[in-house]
């Protein structure tokens, strides 16, 4: 999957998993800080995002330090998926 296609898909999945009522795919920029003031995400959302990676891409985040580097922006998540994806 191309990076651009993956990022668009990922944004849709983030909205669906976190039920971000006020946002559309177009509202999320690739480099928006997911845990910044724009989205108001919290630690439960971090868990939801790690479940998203496991269910949708077969990637299990086991190291919290690694999670803090991956769950930063759509860019960082997509980059990590492309490098580690084992299942579609």
């Amino acid at each position: 999957m191309e990076a651009a296609e993956l990022k668009a898909k990922l944004k849709g999945q983030i909205i669906e998993y976190l039920n971000l009522l006020d946002f559309t795919v177009e509202d999320i920029a690739d480099d928006d800080q997911l845990f910044g003031p724009k989205f108001g995400l919290d630690s439960i959302d971090a868990l939801e995002l790690s479940v998203l990676l496991e269910r949708e891409y077969g990637i299990k985040l086991t190291d919290p330090a690694e999670g803090r580097k991956v769950l930063v922006t759509v860019d960082t998540m997509a980059e990590y998926i492309l490098a580690n994806q084992t299942a579609a």
């Binding site: 998993y17 976190l18 039920n19 971000l20 009522l21 006020d22 108001g40 919290d42 439960i44 868990l47 939801e48 790690s50 479940v51 496991e54 269910r55 299990k60």
Partner: protein, 354 residues
């Protein structure tokens, strides 16, 4: 105890509408779906994660908790967020007991509304949830009453919430508790078929130990499970007697007629044996059947004794008497039976310095 204020989200326009000034909403089918407000009192960041029962409980309770300082929160719910609970259980199977999201689990817990309300309103007082199937609301009242008797609280938020979950609806339909055919809610009592129609919503009350310009008084309540007809009459008679009342002091009965031909005979028998002349009101043709239906009945009765007009479709036996004292009798599936006696309160005596 005294009802200081109240709110209700229900299949009728009871929350922000003009329920008592307009015609009731008529439903066709076996589900009376709650009319949900815009939930302006809930931040979007929290609303997005809430299941329906949590949303309705929070939406109904938060305006009260913002207006009154209460010493605790007591919520009754039989099934809680059953839709989320089923989603969580299905995920266990679907993902082969792998990593699960916490949201559905948290939202599916019956104690979630009471806990969430405490967090949102920063209320660190007493917090309890009663899940006693058809007597959840009556147990909430008992909890509140005990706290008042022991002087551990002066003011409490008490209420119930129930949501229709589609899986539960299918199970109850198969079991014969919900009607298999579509019925119009204004013709519910002429259906003469097995089963009720499902309802949902949240009814919330600020109750106080003392009368301070209260809207209504919950004079007493009682409950009994698996009674005989005689047991039931004895229970109701005792409730009246210990409050110095006779059947003639009751201006109207509010009975939980659900349109279920198998269980409505309890109400017919009760009225015939103990209150042959008393006016009879219904409420489930407005709100549907829920395990904590008596909470919706109490909301309705409190409104009526405080002077609101009686919707015509709730009159099952006409009475011209002014409604000052209403006895609610409700049962769930013919097994759990509860009474709530609601009265117009005497004018409160102004306290010194007020």
């Amino acid at each position: 105890m005294f009802i200081k204020d109240l709110t209700c989200i229900s299949p009728q326009r009871t929350f922000e509408g003009d329920f008592f000034q307009s015609e009731p909403v008529i439903y066709t089918g076996s589900q009376l779906i709650a009319i949900e407000p815009a939930y302006e009192s809930i931040p979007n960041s929290q609303l997005r994660r809430m299941g329906k029962s949590n949303r309705m409980a929070t939406g109904a309770a938060m305006p009260l908790l913002q207006k009154y300082k209460t010493d605790g929160i007591i919520i009754g719910t039989t099934d809680g967020g059953m839709e989320d609970c089923h989603r969580f259980l299905n995920q266990i199977i679907q993902y082969q007991e792998g990593t699960l999201t916490p949201t559905n689990f948290v939202q599916g817990s019956p104690s979630s509304p009471a806990g969430g309300l405490a967090l949102m309103s920063a209320n660190s007082g007493y917090n309890n949830t009663h899940s006693n199937k058809g007597l959840s609301f009556e147990n909430c009242l008992m909890d509140a009453d005990l706290l008042f008797i022991e002087a551990r609280a002066k003011s409490l938020l008490v209420g119930c919430v129930e949501e229709i979950s589609q899986a539960q609806h299918r199970i109850e339909t198969l079991a014969g508790y919900i009607k298999k055919e579509d019925v119009s809610s204004d013709k519910l009592y002429s259906s003469k078929t097995p089963g009720a129609v499902n309802g949902e919503g949240a009814a919330m009350f600020v109750v106080e130990a003392k009368n301070d310009n209260a809207l209504a008084e919950i004079v007493d309540f009682d409950m009994i499970s698996y009674p005989s007809r005689e047991d039931l009459l004895t229970k109701a008679d005792a409730l009246l007697k210990r409050n110095g009342l006779t059947t003639d002091d009751v201006d109207a009965l509010m009975l939980g007629f659900s349109g279920d031909v198998n269980t409505d005979n309890w109400y017919h028998g009760f009225a015939k044996d103990l209150f042959p002349q008393t006016g009879i009101l219904s409420f489930k043709n407005l709100f549907g059947e829920t395990p904590s239906a008596s909470a919706f009945a109490t909301w309705f009765a409190a409104q009526l004794v405080s002077g609101k007009p009686v919707p015509e479709m709730t009159f099952q036996r006409w009475s011209s008497r002014e409604l000052k004292t209403i006895l609610i009798y409700n049962h769930y599936q013919g097994n759990q039976h509860g009474f709530v006696l609601v009265r117009k309160p005497a004018p409160s005596i102004p306290q010194r310095g007020k």
